[in-house]
Symmetry: C2
Subunit: 171 residues, 2 copies
């Protein structure tokens, strides 16, 4: 199965000139969704992963299904103000301005073996901040996994842990 | 296993006087997360479900894992402006003001058999709007499922399809 066949391009979203990779056709197709979870999880099936960390919002979809596939816990990284207990946060630069991600300070015990998951790797700002957050709380980051890598944006160079991607676009 | 033991109360979140039910300890516990997916899915294992519809953001976590458990597709309902293709939307009233949810207009074929999922049923506004959206696009709504029901808020009375909840608080 070529998972790329289950993505679709949406021109000019979220703004003019951008071609957005829409993953919803893949999600809606039972076999394609199942195959995406197998492919994302493949490097980690013998890695004694204790938690999958998913990045809000689409990273929740892949991360939660991976956590069940790998039979481990799921930990959310969220946008500011969404997590109810004590959090730590990381800011990162955007093209215009900055953004921030948060994790519960008690979400991961020191030495937990984790995979960090998002749907699409673009410039890498969000994922790099997520990797930093998990380092801050002492987790053992086995790797980061994204379904789609927009290789022409060179986000891979910003990620300081092993990176696994399933679909590569525009090398 | 008593799943309620894996929730925790966070006082005064998101505002003073509210006791927030935090599901993140449950998510982080592999066995509790697995049991929550089994319990949420139990009424539907022989229902020929074709898609689980999850409500952003925490509904994505339970909904995606349920879609894999039931071996069907996953369809997201999102906040306004997040879905890239043509959408339909429903507004609903909040205590102060209103909010809105959206679904891709082509996300579900007429007659698809679906379950709509969220983490917590409070006053029911979001879930009732999601049910309305799925009716608007002609899906066959087999049921709605929430992990936690805050029964004292009487949200159940607003839901016009069969409703399954796993943990009931404050009857």
């Amino acid at each position: 199965m070529d998972l790329n066949d289950h993505l679709r391009d949406i021109p000019n979203f979220p703004k003019p000139g951008i071609i957005f990779k829409d993953i919803t056709p893949l999600l809606g197709h039972a076999e394609a969704f199942a195959e995406s979870i197998r492919a994302l999880s493949a490097p980690y099936t013998d890695s004694a992963i204790t938690a999958v960390v998913g990045i809000e919002s689409r990273g929740f979809i892949f991360g939660a299904a991976m956590a069940r596939y790998l039979n481990c816990g799921f930990v959310p990284i969220r946008k500011p103000g969404k997590l109810p207990a004590h959090t730590i946060s990381r800011s990162y630069d955007l093209e215009y301005g900055s953004d921030c991600v948060e994790i519960h300070a008690d979400a991961l015990a020191a030495g937990e073996r984790i995979v960090i998951v998002d749907d699409v790797l673009a410039t890498g700002g969000t994922l790099a901040a997520a990797v930093g957050l998990c380092q801050d709380i002492g987790a053992d980051i086995v790797g980061a996994a994204c379904l789609v890598e927009l290789a022409f944006l060179r986000g891979r160079s910003t990620i300081t842990c092993p990176l696994h991607t399933v679909i590569t676009i525009g090398e």
